[in-house]
Symmetry: C2
Subunit: 239 residues, 2 copies
DNA sequence: TTTGTATTTTTGTGATCACAATGCTCTAAT
DNA sequence: ATTAGAGCATTGTGATCACAAAAATACAAA
């Protein structure tokens, strides 16, 4: 029936207050993040409409939004797909994160009240828990939640959407890459970040965030390892 | 007929090879950039469809894309408008530019061959010309073109879309603000940038870009001036 | 004049349809 | 066996329609 591999996205029930388009957007977004849609796999509006059980219209809108966020790529043939990763692009994405996120953290720090600090601590605790259990899904999800909550403290938000776009581009590759690791070491820099926040030490916070990002991608530290992971993540789509 | 101020966007003829949605997107985008759509002015799909002479469908897609780029804001009432500027947000946007653009320039520098350097020089020359004539429109357009061409030299592009999003958010305010200035001093840092590129001096290039951005917003250097300009740019929409 | 309510209009949303362009498949010729 | 081309199926695009929600309006009472 389908020429390529079948698409299976996790379907969550739609709340009534949410429009179909919003639900489709969230569903496709998390599918991309989870690596459920392989890079290079050609997507069609009608196929997705069938899979999600809606009309083509909401799909079109969600796809356009995701393309604007660089989560999907519209080719010249007006075909849509999850962009494939390259070593250079991966490098650029990581460096862009390092250029933006420490800055965003420093900008958010003055707005962190006791309540938000407590929330950050709570996420951190859950993260340690997930780490002990070796739950990769949970670890990366909580790690992302920590960063998001931190940056979002700044009420005059302009960087978070940009950072989310970077995450969205890195997400699928990171999932596919880490899924094959039996062990995933994360030297936790979040505690260092928390201490910097308590001292209101902007420089220390930036260094902690920077280190956290660098170490989060340390598993592809060598060029060969990176190359292997990229080959692997693009393999299924290459057929 | 219309409850609020009429919308007048500059309509350029559509090329055949361009889809209606793309044309609508470009038209609305440049209208936002030119400040033709006042911040806070409520936009409706049908009204825009009437103004542009197309069906509501392409408008919907273009609006969704522009919203994803933070050029438009979808309110809870699911009403769409150009976001209003605040002093804090303006500050955040400028600082985000300064965090990203010098970095993007440094990342692009190794890829600047003679041809691209020549193109940059040509834009620079046109910029000086526009400056002599006091053509504000042209000055800011060429200035943006210079930056875009510089960053775009990097073939593994991830930052340019983020930067364009920042420009899109600053654009309308800058236009409205500078339009009331009879003189608009621009101390040209582009030549400094060019020299840094020739020497392949990454640090000097970053400093030049940083200075260029800072001086580009110097006309609202004092908090009072900024406040006045914001009041003024939001005035028409406040009625 | 102001305030609350009922009526009318307009709006976003999502589905469906027509059409031209693109990709796919099957066949025939080399 | 490989390839070129014709025919067919599928696609994205853009227009139109139905409907419920929201906003604007009109009108009543204070």
């Amino acid at each position: 029936m389908d020429k390529k591999s079948p698409i299976s996205v996790t379907l969550t029930p739609r709340l009534e207050s949410v429009t179909v388009t919003q639900w489709v957007y969230q569903t496709l977004r998390s599918a991309v993040m989870k690596g459920q849609i392989l890079p290079g796999r050609a997507l069609t509006i009608r196929e997705l409409a069938r899979v999600l059980g809606v009309s083509p219209m909401p799909i079109r809108e969600a796809i356009r939004q995701l393309s604007a966020e660089n989560a999907l790529e519209i080719q010249g043939n007006r075909r849509v797909m999850v962009p494939k990763m390259t070593a250079m692009k991966f490098n650029e994405l990581c460096e862009a994160r390092i250029a933006l996120e420490p800055y965003a953290a420093a900008r958010a720090m003055p707005y962190l009240d006791k309540e938000k600090i407590e929330q950050l601590r709570a996420i951190n605790a859950l993260g340690d828990q997930a780490m002990a259990q070796g739950n990769l899904e949970e670890i990366s999800s909580l790690n992302q939640g920590f960063h998001r909550l931190l940056y979002a403290a700044n009420p005059h938000q302009v960087t978070l959407p940009l950072i989310e776009s970077l995450w969205l581009q890195l997400g699928p590759f990171m999932r596919l890459a880490t899924s094959s690791l039996e062990e995933y070491y994360v030297i936790d820099r979040h505690n260092e970040a928390m201490q910097a926040i308590e001292k209101q030490d902007s420089v220390a916070l930036q260094l902690a965030i920077k280190a956290d990002i660098r170490e989060g991608i340390a598993f592809v530290n060598t060029p060969e390892a990176l190359h292997n992971f990229i080959e692997q993540s693009n393999y299924a789509a290459a057929n």
